[in-house]
Structure formats: C-alpha cells, structure tokens
Point group: C2
Chain length 409, copies 2
C-alpha cells in the first residue's frame, strides 16, 4: 500500500468530462488500497481569464488582491473533483491552501513555500479519505492568500509529497514525459525514461515547460521521485530522480532552445572597478532579471559589456542602459531582440571532455555564428541569431547521438 501524490494540470481538468477522467484514475489507485492525495490546477484558460478581468479593473492590479482572485481557479476544480468523487460514493474532501497548511512567504504572485503542516491531510488519509488539494495557493503568516507563480501547482504537489514522505509524486500533464528536445522542433526527439534532478533543473530554467523549476528544487532537496506523465494515456512517462552511474555514461541528455531573451551591449566603456555595478544596479532596481552577463576587453583600456534580459523587459532595460551609457561615456549602446539561446545539458559532462568543442564545431559546420557563451557544470549555452534556433537544435541533437531510431521522419 503506497501513499501517492497525483497532480493534474490545467488541460487535464479543462472541463467536466476531463475531471471525470481524473476521478477514474484516482479511484483506480484508491481501489487498490493506496492512499491518494490529488493536487489540481485551475481549468485551462481560467487563470488567464481572471488576469484579464483584473486588467479590466486596473492596468497594474494589486498583487495581494490578484492572488485572492486567482486562488478561485483552483478552489473551483478542487470542489468539483471532491463532489464528483463523493457522488461516486468515495470518501473525499477538498482542501484549500490555508486548510492544507501550505505556509509561504508574503511574496504575492510568486510566493515560496516555507513549510507544510499537512495535519489535516494526514487526518483525512488516516480515515481513508481521498484528499483533493487546490494547488498553486498557500497562506502567509498573517493568513493572507498567496499564489506560487506560473506552474506553481507542480511545486504544491512536490512539497506536499515531501512533507508526507509520499512514495511517489506523479505530475499528469498534456505531454507524456520529458524529451531530448522539443518534438515540435526536432522530429527525432525521444522521450527520456529517466532524467536527473540537476538536468531537469537546467532544462526547466532553459525553457522546457514541463515542470516549474521550484518544484524540481524541492524534489531534489527532499529526494522526492517525480513521475512526469500524460493524463490521457496509461503509458509510463519520465522519472525525475537522483543521478546514478548509468546516467553519467550519457554525455548529453537534452537540447533546448529559448527565444524569450534579448541582448543589450554597451560598447567601449571604461574598464574600471564598479562599472558593471553601475549598469546592473538600476536594472535590478527596476525588477528586471538579467540572465547572462559577459564582459570582453575592447581596445584602449575600454571594455564591452553584454547582457541578456527577458524580452518583456527589453524596452525598459534598453532605456536604462542608454541613460547609464551616457553617464559613463559608452561609445554605443546596441540592442538585439532577434536572438535565441541554444543549450545542451547532461550530468555526463562532469566526467566527459570535449563537449564544448563538439558543440561549437557542430554550430560552425552549419555556419551559425556564436554571439555569447555561458556554461555550468552540466550545461553549455550559446546565444545565436534567432532564425537559426531550430536548425541548431536539430544539428546538436544529431551530433550528440540523441536521434531516435523509431522516429516518424
């Protein structure tokens, strides 16, 4: 008899028929004697609809109140599933974030889970109830409702699984697992049977939308095995687990690309201490998150400073850069929105050499110019021209031996 935490995303609860499908999967486990905790997202599109409603009221809705509004989405699906299970004569109860004691900080709209009391969840499980928890939401120390940001229900699920020491945390979604590359870009992409927490972390932060990055951090910290799989089939998906020796034999696990960033360069600024801080401080104060920062020597005791920001913040960041550029006497400030970041990820890189060289030569062979490079222990990213993104993914996917044999191409 296992304790299972099962999370269903927005497309899995998009209408009453799909909620019936969720109920069927849940009671199948319950009937086998397992204890089941279900975490639900809002119906697909509902959260966006609520944001639009708030925008009708005011362009910049207060974040505390927006969380009160958004929390209704998951409240609705949790109530509907619980009443459906009860109508099928299964003992079930819905819990909202505050009732499940999901305690968070007070960062409305993007709160972090501090801890989970879960007394009531345990009480209900002991009474052999199916517990249905509204995902995405929590409660701060003052009793205010908070939400966990886009994809936050993943984090609700993993955190609840951790606090209950669940045997498994299943994330049901509209894709059937984690792929070596986006199948829409690379037809030879293969589903990975397993991926390590670290690889999943890198891939999530690089734009793979399968799991919220914080949920992977939680899973790694508390060693929660996460199973990413499809709501619409019985097939096994991808297990996200600790790295083992087998995984380290493979050099590269996946290839990702991301077109959501833009690049800003300040040319020929004085190469002296504090110059990077002069630019980055106002950018940070404007709430803009900088991803890559690179400094290259220019001639004549000058230096070029280049950084990337989310496309949504590009215009504001460029304005700040132009203002600071004048103050510090930069030769020129250049912006570029047409870039893509292509990355290869794999825990095997820790013990394999020549990965970077193979990546650069593969791109060179396709005549793709590399603008910026950053690396981590298990990842190499290159910024290239946006138009080459798909070509680069396919070329790297082949070069690192990831192409599937049974692909339909």
């Amino acid at each position: 008899m296992a304790l299972l935490v099962k999370k269903f995303g927005g497309t899995s609860v998009a209408d009453i028929d799909r909620i019936r499908n969720v109920a069927r999967r849940v009671v199948a486990d319950y009937d086998q004697g397992h204890d089941v905790v279900v975490i639900l997202s809002a119906m697909a599109g509902v959260t966006d609809g609520l944001i639009r409603l708030a925008r009708e009221v005011t362009e910049f809705p207060d974040k505390r109140e927006l969380d009160v509004l958004l929390a209704t989405g998951e409240q609705t699906t949790a109530a509907l599933l619980a009443m459906l299970l009860k109508s099928m004569n299964y003992p079930a109860e819905s819990l909202l974030g505050f009732q499940a004691e999901v305690r968070t900080d007070a960062a409305f709209g993007n709160a972090r889970i501090l801890d989970i009391g879960a007394h009531r969840i345990r009480e209900l499980l002991n009474a052999r109830h199916i517990v249905v928890v509204a995902g995405f939401q929590g409660c701060d120390a003052k009793g205010n409702i908070t939400t966990l940001g886009r994809g936050g229900s993943d984090t609700s699920a993993v955190a609840i699984a951790a606090s209950l020491s669940a045997d498994a945390c299943e994330i049901f979604t509209d894709v059937d697992g984690v792929y070596t590359a986006d199948p829409n870009v690379c037809s030879k992409a293969r589903k990975l049977p397993r991926i390590s927490y670290d690889e999943m972390l890198e891939m999530s932060s690089l734009g793979a939308k399968v799991l919220q990055i914080r949920s992977v951090e939680f899973a790694k910290k508390y060693n929660v095995p996460v199973h990413v799989r499809s709501s619409f089939s019985e097939e096994e998906g991808t297990m996200v687990v600790n790295a083992d020796a087998d995984m380290e034999k493979i050099v590269v696990t996946g290839v990702t690309s991301n077109k959501n960033e833009a690049r800003i360069t300040l040319k020929a600024v004085p190469d002296q201490p504090g110059i990077a801080a002069k630019i980055m401080t106002p950018i940070g104060e404007a709430g803009i998150i900088v991803d890559m920062i690179i400094q290259n020597p220019h001639s004549g005791g000058k230096t070029d400073l280049t950084f990337t920001v989310p496309k949504a913040d590009y215009r504001e960041a460029l304005k700040i850069a132009e203002r600071v550029g004048k103050e510090i006497d930069a030769e020129e400030v250049i912006g570029d929105e047409k870039i893509a970041k292509v990355s290869v990820t794999g825990v095997g890189m820790r013990s394999h050499h020549g990965v970077a060289a193979r990546m650069f030569s593969t791109l060179a062979k396709e005549n793709i110019n590399i603008m910026m490079i950053t690396t981590s222990e298990i990842r190499i990213s290159c910024v290239i021209e946006e138009k080459y993104a798909e070509l680069a993914v396919r070329a790297l996917h082949s070069a690192f031996g990831l192409d599937g044999k049974n692909s339909d191409e």
Copy 2:
C-alpha cells in the same frame, strides 16, 4: 466620524462598471472621514452559474463541496473591489469569511453565524483602511468553508455591523426601499420611510425579498439600524429600526402576497391524539418545511387536517400524505397548487381592534373566498385562490389607507 457598514447586492456589482460605481460611493464616505467596511455579494447570476456547474458533475452535489465552490463568487468581487480601490490610491484590503473570522455552525449551504471575531477588520480600520469583506461565507470550527444561504450577504453585513457596533448598516440593492406592497402588483404602493424590525421580519418571511430574514433577526437582537436603499440613486431608502409610538399609530404597514406555497388536505381522519404527529413526522424527516397547519372538526368524530408546503416540495409532500392517509384511513387526500397567501402586517395591530374583520370584509366584497387563516401578533394571513392574489393586494392596500397620493395611476 462614523463607522459605516455598506453592503452591495449582486446587481450592484454585476460588472466592472457597477463595481466602479460602488467604489465611488465608498470613497465618498471615506473622504468625509468615516470608517468604511464594505460587504459584497457575488456578481448577479454567478452563484446560479456555479450551481449549474455543480449539477453538471452530479445531481445532488455534496453540500460541503458546493460551499467551497459557491464561496468563489464573493471572493471574486471582494478582490476586484479591493484592487480597484488600491488603484485609486485608497488603502484597502479584501477579507474572506475565514479571515474576517465569521464563525458559523457546520450547516453547509445554510449555516448560521455563531460569532464574529473581527480582530483583523478592527486592525485594518485602525490603520484607516477600507475593509472589503466577501459576504455570504463563513468558516466552521474545523476551518471548513460554509455559506449562509440565499441572501446571506445581508446577514454577513448586519452581523459584522453588530460586532463592530457600527453606527449604520446600509444595504444597497436594486430597489430603493421597502414598499407598502409590491409596486409591480399595486401601482399605488408607497416607499416606507421607516419600518420596525418585527414588521420587516414578518414581511421577509411572507415573501418580500428585500432582506434575508436572518439579517433582520440579527439587526433586532443587536439593535442595528439598517438602511435599505438603492445602489443607483442618492435617495434615502427605508430605515429598519425599533418600533416607536409613531409607528404604532399606523395599523397596517404593508400588504404582501406569496405564491410559493401549495396546500394539502387530509379529509376525515380520526380525531385522536397523535394524528397530526403521524403526518408531520415523515414530512419533517423528508426535510420539508411546513408553513401553516390547520385542523378543522369534521362530522362523526373525524377531523380535517390542512397544511401548506413550499411548491418545490409539493409532489414529495403529497406522496407522503397519500401514504400516511391510507395508513390512518383518511377519507381523501386533496392537493392544491393554485393558492396564494395574502397578508397584512403592522405593529399597530397590537393596539388596534377590528383589523381582521376589515380584512375579511374587504376580501368578501371582492368575492374572494378565504381557504385558511393564520395570525400573529402583528400579522394576518389568508390563503386564497391564486388568481385573486393581485386583486386582493390592491383591495387591502386601499382598505387600510395605504394608497399613495402621488402614484402614477
């Protein structure tokens, strides 16, 4: 500087424009230095929509889960008004039932308020915040979400006003006050400037939909002056207050009619102790609320027993009556859905004689047959044929001197 509790009903918050109108009224008071607590209903139609959604899941939705679902309606409007007020640079905060400490029993769907902590409301008022409370909802001792039944936001408002010892409780609605009769039925109906708690109680229970009956009970118990008025005009409405000498000079305050009941008669049942209980016990066990019960002697040691039930429960009640009728050897069981209850109400009846006589003779003059009669200290009700309801209201309205001089008829 007064402490004002202002409640806005569903039509008053039906869309964003109307919520803007609510905000204007609220800040007008705040700007004059008053402390303001706003209680909101769900947008008109939203609660019915949620009930329909639940019915798509199951014909008989679990009541606890239905309350979780329904509570989203008021949560939405509270969040929207609070974010609107903040966008207008007013300090404001929304509170849900559990946050405002609206503690109720666990009668899901129709919970009664036990007490209100209101610590957080007071804290916010002390900091000169406008407090926006989601009406209709509370929280039981276990932390479950409860709702207060149709019109429950009225009760939220009056209970919160009582717990804060507010100077006034204003109920903003789509009518501009309490009338001597339904203006749709009787064109000579006049708006009452004042009405006593007891009269309002009788009129609410007789089908005047202006205020939830429990809200009036609360207002009476804690002596909260309630001002019923229109959201869409600045005009004074009707004050619901304690009766005074002036009010008692007027014999009849209002005439109401109600077509929501049906009548069941068991003819010629044995006139012996326990016979009424034999019929009423299974009716009560089926959750059917009986309004009037009348027993008339029949010839030969027999008696006729007649009672009325809500039309929605008529078929079920009739089935039960037919079954019991056989058991106790009733001569006949007769049902009648085409009835109306016409009532005159007034605290003045306590000291005036001849009210009943005038009511009966007025109906007789119009050739309206009276089927059943019940009275309270301040009310007389007659059951008549449904088709005469409007005629009876107009005739009684004239006979008791209620016709307005400036009516447009």
